[in-house]
Each structure stands twice: as C-alpha cells, then as structure tokens.
Amino acid sequence: MTTRIDARFAALKKEGRAALVTFTVAGDPDYATALAILKALPKAGADVIELGMPFTDPMADGPAIQAAGLRALKAGQNMHKTFTAVHEFRGGDDATPIVLMGYYNPIYIYGVDKFLADAKAAGVDGLIVVDLPPEEDLELCLPAIKAGLNFIRLATPTTNDKRLPTVLKNTSGFVYYVSITGITGAAAPDTGKVAEAVARIKRHTKLPVCVGFGVRTAGHARAIAQSADGVVVGSALVEAVRQSLGADAKATSATMPAVTDLVRKLAAGVRGAQRVFMQP
C-alpha cells in the first residue's frame, strides 16, 4: 500500500511539476487560527504539509521558528492538540499528505508507541525528527516504519557520498535536502549548488528529493523547483504569521490571509518552474 506521500509525488510527477511543501507550526499563534490556516493550505497551493510540533529548545531552528514554537506553547499547544488538529483536517481532506516535524523529546515523553498509534489514527503520513540521525534509528525510525508511517530523513551538504547510503537506508516518502549548512530561515541557498546536490542524491535513491532551508520568495521557489521534486518553505510563512499579529501578539483578521497569500505566490513560483523543468 502506498501512503498519501507516495501517491502525491506520483501524481505530481505525471503533472511534470515540483511540489510546494509548506511548514507551519501547530498551534501558532493559537489552536483555532493554526487549524484554519492548516485547512486553507491545500487550496492556496500546498501539495504537502509539514506541521511543526513545538519544542522549547529547537537547536536547528532560527529565530522565526523558535519564536513560533514559543507562541504555540504559550497558547497551550501540546501533542494531543496537534493530533486533534490533524484529525479535524482529515475530515475535509483525505489526500494532502501531512508530515509532523520536530524534535524527539516531546515524542519520547509522550511515549513512542502511543505517539505512533495516535499519529496514524489522526491521519499523519510521515515524520521528520531533526535530532534523530540514522545512528539512533532504533528509537523512532524503525518503529515508525513498522507502524506504517514514512520516516523522512534530512540530507545536508555535509552528508557525503560515503554517508548517503546510511542516511537513505531507512528513509521513505521523500528525502529532505537541507540546502545550506545552517539553521532554518538563514541565507538563501545557491541554486546551482542545490541542483548539483539533488543530482548527487538522486544517484543514490529513486525517492523524490525536496529542498528546504532559506527559501523565502516565489523567485527562490521557482529556481529550486527546476531541479528538485519539491520546495519546502517554512520560516517565511511563520514570519508572515508573526507580522500579522496584533499589538497583544494575538491573531488578527490579517493572519490567515498573510499565510495563504504567500502560499499562493510560492505555489505560482513552483508551478512556473514547470516550463523550465520540462524543457531540455
């Protein structure tokens, strides 16, 4: 049986275009607004949804996503509410893949077996856990595969050819190529280098390769989508949430449109790359 992730990438391949993968943080700036954003993402052009599980100490994230996580935690977000949001989303959308992304401690404390069962039941398709390299596969990766969830691994500029097979071994769904050595929301990647890296990873795997970290604008997205199977945008969306907040740091009527407008522009960028991509 293929997962929603496999089905979505297969369909996009037929369309001949890359995926727009969006990242927002569950519960940011509050549960209800975050859920409304989540539900609006597919229509605005998100092909795959990454939903951040907030954590107090996100060691691979830049200031934008750190702040988003703290906003969500302050508003009372927890793992249970994240699953509830996914479940509510699934009530209206059974096709768009949802990938939970975060750090291991909240999962470990929730309980690995319970986490996997609840994630599966809520309609989660895959997991990205930043601080679980292949060396720690026994923790969550292998149990997740057994539970029928895709475990999506990050490959980075430091993952050389010798190490790539180790990284790819238990990876499924797609490979997330981190375009820079750095934290989320840092400098924009060099698209030429990204294309080389994607080609290098593709020599080792048939899985789709999505590229993220530092992608902010429709222009970046278009350029990356020429060579990658998907473009991940996170910090820019999370920053749009922040800029829309009122003086009391609460959501305003501008919050949801701020995110969906940017997603629409990014989607146009990704789809605009189709023509370039299709030409020899």
């Binding site: 293929t2 929730y110 390299p133 981190v178």
Partner: protein
C-alpha cells in the same frame, strides 16, 4: 502497509526492522542484567556512546559526519603517546598541575568528624577545573586543523578557559553566554574580552546555560566545516561525555596518588557539586570500582526542591533527550524543557551528564542537593575557616560536607573537589548578602 522504499520490496525492509527491534529488546534486557552483574563501572560508554540507556548521538544530520570525524580523531589522539606527552607538558607548565590535595584542618575541626581534604582545582590557571578539558579539546582541534573555536558558558569559567587557550594557540574564539549570566558574571565577561574572545549574549529562552548551548549548536550547524565546538561538560553527543571525562579524570588520578602519599591509603568518601558534572566525574571516575568508597554528587536545589525553582535534574527530573544525549532533564509533562534555577550560574542547567544518570540508576553515586542559602553559608564558612573563597558551585559540595562529615569517624578520609575559586561570585554574593552581614 509499507510504502515502497527506494524501489526495494517493502517486505524485506519490514523483516529487517523486526530483526533490529528484536535486537533492541535484547539490548535493553542485557542492560538490565548488567546492572546486577557489573564487573566494572568504568567500561562505558559502548560504541554507540551509551551508558545504559543514557547518552547517544541525538543531533541534526549536518553535525553527524563531523561528530564521527571527531570520534575517530579523538581515538587516534588517545592512542598517540605524542598527544599525551604534549598534554602533560602543558598541564605541568601552563595549567600548573598537579593541583594540591590540601588537608582542611580547621574545617575538619569545625565538623568534628571525617578528616577533610580539598582537591584544589581552583588553583589551576584560569581558576577552575575547566582548563583540564579545554586543553585537551584545543590540542585535538589543532590536530583536526580547526581554526575557529566556539564554546558555551554558564558561570563563565569554561568560557574563560576556552578564551585563554585560544589566545595561547592563536585561534579565533566565540563564546555563547546567556544574557542573564552575562549580567551576573561581568568579571568573567571582561576576562574573556581581554583574552581576545568574542562573547555573544544569548537572548533566547531562559537566557542561561541551556540557551547558550542551543545557540552554540546553531553556530556549529552553520559553520560546521571550519569550527570546533569545545563543550564544557560531560554532556552533549558522543564522544563528548567520554572525552571530557577522560580529560577531567586527571583530578581523580592525582587525588589517588596524593592521598596515598599523605595517608597511605584510598579515601573513604568523595564529594563534588554537579551541574553537567565534569568536575565530579573527573574526581569520581578513577575510584568507581573501589566499591567501598562512598561517592556523593551534589545538585543545586535553588530555592528548594519543593519550590520547582531548582537545577536538580536527578532529584526533580526524569529521562529525556536534549543537546545530543539522553539523560535526566527538568521538563513539564509534555516534554518541554523547564528553566533551571540556581544562585550558581555554573549549575544552572536543566540536565546532567549521561554517565551520572546511569551511575545514579545503578546506585553507584548518591545524589544530594544543596539550596542557594546552604551554598551561601558554606561559601562564607570556608572563606573564614580556611582562607579559601570557593566558587558558588563547589560551595554546594561544601554545604553537604558540613552535614556528612560530623557523622563520620575521625579516621574517615573525605575528599571534596574544590572545583573553582570564588572571585567571579563576589559581586553576586554581596548582593545576596546585603542586609544580612553586619
């Protein structure tokens, strides 16, 4: 149920998964058995960096290749007599080792029980035990060709030690320090600047040691090719807990020789304060297999364990994963990390080294805790009795000596690690004592 993985048939993968999960269950069972049948407490970690269930390598993929490179570079250095010789030379002539093992006669008389020795790590160059480890790591960084050194610091002693050795070897040095700590340890910030290091105040989270470590890890992820991360305690991803312990173990090895010379025998008890736990492990590790020796680690109880305002991970935490390792952590029911509290910036961390976590579980180390007030009292008492102003960190250990020593016989030999000197704490102690001292 499986998606297709990289074109291979999913069934093969699934059976592989089942086999590996069986292996894991086996390993956990084995680990429980080992606890009962341990021949030695000194053989850890295993090749994956585990001390029982603790330790490991929970880091972003960007760092993983470098961590493997570091592991291999350290293994080579450890086996190279030239590395040991170089270290020994600097330890003698630059750090000033061996540090004295000093019989604290008046403290002993005051307590009226155990014969108390102080291991004088505060007399090392830079004023604390931190330099032992930094020297090792900087020499290793040199071997690895890294020219840019980053470090996190709490009280500033690790930062000062790192800045010092970077000055000595002409390396660029960036120290991350929580802005709260920058404020309460101004003297050390000035020292680091004087030594040519750049101190970066960290404004995120609780603005203390935990956040400084987050920020250092973020720097490392960004500058991974050029940069060596000099971690100050026996925490972080493997091989750091093992490597830092090895560098600090000179404290215990010297103590063993010095006490043999002074008393003709081994100690009866050892005691040290524990934040991450490097000074404690440095003293304890060479003695772990002498099972008759009582070993006490003293955590910071802040305002009191029942107030929630403390930094005692063993007493008030539970196992979780942070900063590259599994260990006891202070956190809420959702696995979100709590802010630690201690009067001592060096103990103000919501975790503890993984080897301590394991030694707690197997019952080899007894963990105690001392409050801010107990540490302040001990700070003043040692100053007046022995003419030695301790740092607030080892003042926590002294506080428990005052409780333990009176109950011991007069021939009981107790060694306390006096891990740092108190100059850096004078301003903040003065503030705390305002209105209390005549």
């Amino acid at each position: 149920m499986q998606s297709q993985i990289d074109g291979s048939v999913s069934l093969t993968l699934l059976s592989g998964v089942k086999r590996e999960l069986r292996l894991r269950r086996g390993r956990e069972k084995e680990s429980r058995m080992t606890v009962q049948q341990l021949n030695s407490f000194r053989t850890g970690p295993d090749e994956h960096g585990h001390f029982g269930i603790y330790g490991g390598r929970f880091v972003a993929e960007t760092l993983m290749p470098l961590i493997l490179e570091l592991e291999s570079a350290y293994a080579q250095a450890k086996a190279d007599p030239a590395f040991t010789k170089e270290m020994d030379g600097y330890l003698t002539h630059y750090v000033g080792r061996p540090s004295p093992l000093y019989f604290a006669e008046r403290l002993t008389a005051h307590c009226g029980g155990a014969k108390i020795y102080l291991k004088r790590e505060e007399l090392n160059h830079t004023g604390a035990h931190k330099v032992n480890n930094v020297l090792g790591q900087i020499l290793l960084a040199q071997r690895m060709g890294k020219k840019r050194i980053i470090a996190e610091t709490g009280a500033g002693m690790h930062g000062v030690a790192t800045a010092t050795l970077c000055a000595r070897f002409g390396l660029e040095c960036i120290v991350y320090m929580g802005s709260v700590d920058v404020e309460r340890q101004k003297a050390n910030v000035f020292r680091m600047n004087m030594l040519g290091a750049k101190v970066v105040p960290v404004e995120s989270g609780s603005k203390t040691l935990k956040d400084a470590m987050n920020e250092a890890l973020r720097d490392w992820v960004t500058n991974v090719e050029s940069t060596f991360y000099c971690i100050g305690t026996i925490a972080g991803p493997h091989p750091y807990p093992m490597m830092v312990r090895d560098f600090q173990s000179i404290i215990g090895r010297e103590t063993r020789e010095q006490l043999q010379a002074a008393e003709g025998r081994l100690p009866d008890s050892l005691i040290a304060c524990i934040g991450g736990g490097s000074n404690a492990m440095g003293l304890f590790h060479p003695f772990l297999d002498e099972r008759g020796i009582e070993i006490y680690g003293v955590e910071a109880a802040g305002h009191g364990l029942d107030t929630g305002m403390h930094a005692a991970s063993i007493a008030g935490g539970r196992p979780g994963v942070l900063h590259g390792n599994r260990t006891y952590l202070l956190m809420n029911e959702d696995g979100q990390i709590n802010e630690a509290h201690s009067i001592s910036a060096g103990l103000d961390y919501p975790g503890i080294g993984p080897e301590h976590a394991w030694l707690n579980d197997v019952g080899r180390i007894t963990f105690l805790s001392a409050t801010d007030d107990e540490a302040l009292n001990a700070f003043q008492l040692l100053s007046k009795l022995e003419g030695i102003i301790p740092a607030l960190e080892p003042a926590h250990a002294i506080a428990k000596v005052l409780e333990l020593a009176p109950g011991k016989p007069k021939d009981h030999l107790m060694v306390v690690n006096l891990s740092g000197r108190g100059d850096k704490d004078l301003d903040s102690v003065a503030r705390h004592l305002e209105g209390r001292v005549r």
